[in-house]
Subunit: 214 residues, 2 copies
DNA sequence: GTCTATATCCGGATAGAC
DNA sequence: GTCTATCCGGATATAGAC
């Protein structure tokens, strides 16, 4: 009896684990294939092959290519608006901004595919993202803008257009992910090494702080 | 006799005009459809419809979708590396950079589709652009880097990583084209008006100049 | 849950009449 | 040069055996 229960729960657990594992593998593979070929250009076969799973099973887990695509987007966007979380009117702008920039750079260097997928989606007019996150992002930007604005009012910073500062920081950091091919080419490298990452941070942070009059 | 010649040349000219006109219409339509749906996602039917031309005729002028895509890319890349043309060791950095930024912003606001197409192409690893322009771009960047470096050596500017400065200027200006949907959303607008363009320039130029220590 | 075989559709490209 | 009708490959999605 006890044995039976143990077996059952073990089977169930194994089952769930297999499912979770397969879903993870598919999502990861899909991410890469979507980045490389776009939504239409990606084939379920290529995704299945890369995940090491039969094509039919990919359809079993995610019913259609569109649903799979949206699942990928969703998983990416979840940790999107992190950073700059705990800043207030009385935070130190210099410290806050530096932390934020470092966070964004880490994200760019660690998950280039996420940023690429996101960028292409936005460039194409964000047909799938729009309902998913536009309002959330607007609210986030507005809250942060308000804080930066208050810094300005206190004379802590010489930027009175916070929105554009946010855009600039997003852009300059994410670019190292989106355009990695091109930038690595200019750097004469095959991949970013620690030196490169350090070099980027050491250029970008003082530059932006100076731009802010800090 | 004179009449005949006139007629002939008139016919010929009309013919050529029709061809030129059709090619232009197709290129323009293709640009829009490729931007909205990507290379694979774009259909020849959609391009033909937008151009107001039967699908078979699109194939008549450009034999395949790939050739059409490359034609579009080529037409875009031609005026790409303009700007910052006439700068030398003894130019004024402040003046040169401001001019360059304004040029890039004009380009971004006037030809957003060009920048979007270019960006997607680069994000996807630039499969078609690479042979077309990588070396040209590297050489351009290297020449300009040398000039900026000489400004640094003369103490005119406090940037000693010229490549990253160039990347930053490219990025921050082009972004207003690539992400126009998102940015307009943040601005609460449907399209950039002259106010917006002015606002962007008046944020970006002083910011970057301050960043350069100018 | 897994996987093979297949139905079904869509889109690029062409043939051939005008 | 223009346009209709059609071919055909390739990809999504599913049916159904295991």
């Amino acid at each position: 009896m006890a044995k039976l229960v143990t077996d059952e729960s073990k089977n169930t657990r194994t089952h769930q684990e297999i499912r979770a594992e397969n879903e993870r593998a598919i999502l990861k593979a899909a991410e890469a294939v979507f980045v490389a070929h776009g939504l239409k250009g990606a084939t379920m076969q290529a995704i299945a092959d890369l995940a090491g799973i039969p094509k039919a099973n990919v359809h079993y887990y995610y019913q259609s290519k569109k649903k799979l695509y949206i699942a990928v987007l969703t998983s990416i966007v979840e940790d999107w608006n992190t950073g700059l979380e705990d800043i207030h009117e009385d935070s130190d702008p210099k410290q806050s901004l530096e932390t934020f920039i470092r966070l964004k750079l880490d994200s760019a260097f660690n998950h280039p595919n996420h940023h690429k997928l996101f960028a292409v989606e936005v460039i194409n007019g964000a047909p799938y993202l729009h309902q998913l996150m536009t309002t959330k992002m607007n609210q986030w930007a507005e809250r942060k803008s308000a804080v930066i604005k208050s810094w300005y009012d206190q004379g802590k910073i010489s930027i009175n257009d916070p929105l554009q500062l946010l855009i600039l920081i997003w852009t300059t950091t994410q670019r190292y992910a989106e355009f990695d091919t091109e930038i690595l080419n200019l750097f004469g490298k095959d991949a970013y090494d620690d030196e490169d990452k350090k070099r980027v941070a050491e250029f970008l942070i003082p530059f932006i702080l100076r731009g802010c009059g800090l």
